[in-house]
Symmetry: C2
């Protein structure tokens, strides 16, 4: 399929991971790419599969699955006490969830062509030869406008919300991958969706994914 | 022209900066982009212009202009003692050279459409509205193969040469820009030339540069 790297070239698979800054339109781009290429998009379905594999709730997975630091939280404590394995197991809940995510993402990539958004899929599938890794980012101004338009206003300023998400995602990513969030060398392509526009990002990714 | 950002939109100019890891083919890509778009490419000509502006030799500019740390070197000392301003001026030679580079790069961008490779042009022109910023990188394997093919073997292994260049460029970039080298968010597009191939990188950049 797309790109040959460390491994065997294969025309039978086409897996695209999209990592993105919060508010950059990465999910919208991922969905549009999947629709145009006629392959599944795993966003909510990824959370469903992780919930099934892990036994944790959707809400918990969405809160912890990309943002957890090693600190505890209200949701974190509820999840631990409610989980069948409770506190007896020495592995942290965040670590257990990460392992479940890893298994689910590897299984989905194994099943066939798809678009996977977030959840360290870029790192989890880094040695898979037939995978295209994308990073979508944008400046604060474009992202702030986008999150207010899509999710509305909150007590916190959009800039503060973005800084908070950026910071948590960075810590989470570093913790589980030992890589720096947003480093160009971890991706085949990084695109500024604010400068280029969402549609152009979709065009570029599909064009590359369709390379022979 | 290309991309509207922080400033006034202009159809009269088209400036492309290409930052690149050593051995990633960034210069080759820059030359090909400039040729296809019919605009000047400033590689060696950039060194000529900096030499004229600064009074330093080509050799010194090539050695120090992207790699200097704050430590001194043989070339560095020769340049200082040979330079008309010698050691009496409190500003370091590296700083003087950086200021000359800044002036030359701004003047070239002001003159008209062009492709500028390296020398912190991405940072120097970061607030210029009609500028497209590109970062080209590749994995160690592709880069090692490329530098041996183009520049031949040396006593040092190609991996060691690359690590050395990467490290110096990173220090230089951080020193003068206070940004981290290779962070996706500093560029409109980052491309892995090893995974995508040099020709595809040229296609993508030209396609974006030609956006209306």
């Amino acid at each position: 399929m797309i790109i040959q790297r460390k491994g065997t070239f294969s025309v039978t698979n086409k897996v695209i991971t999209i990592s993105r800054q919060f508010g950059s339109g990465g999910r919208t781009i991922g969905k549009a790419v999947a629709a145009r290429l006629g392959i599944p998009y795993y966003g909510k379905e990824l959370v469903d599969a992780i919930a099934k594999e892990s036994g944790f709730s959707h809400e918990f997975i969405e809160e912890i699955g990309e943002y957890a630091s090693v600190t505890s939280s209200f949701l974190f404590n509820i999840a631990v006490s409610a989980h069948p394995m409770g506190l007896v197991d020495s592995m942290s809940v965040s670590d257990k969830l990460y392992i479940c995510q890893t298994n689910v993402i590897r299984d989905l990539a194994e099943k066939g062509p798809c678009v996977l958004v977030g959840r360290c899929a870029d790192f989890i599938l880094k040695d898979r030869p037939d995978t295209l890794h994308i990073f979508i980012h944008s400046d604060m101004e474009h992202r702030a406008e986008r999150i207010v338009r899509l999710y509305g206003e909150t007590k916190q300023s959009p800039e503060k919300r973005l800084q908070d998400k950026d910071s948590k995602r960075k810590v989470y990513y570093k913790h589980y991958t030992n890589r720096n969030w947003g480093e160009a060398q971890n991706y085949d392509i990084c695109l500024d969706s604010g400068a280029l526009g969402v549609d152009k990002c979709v065009d570029i990714i599909c064009d590359i994914a369709e390379m022979e």
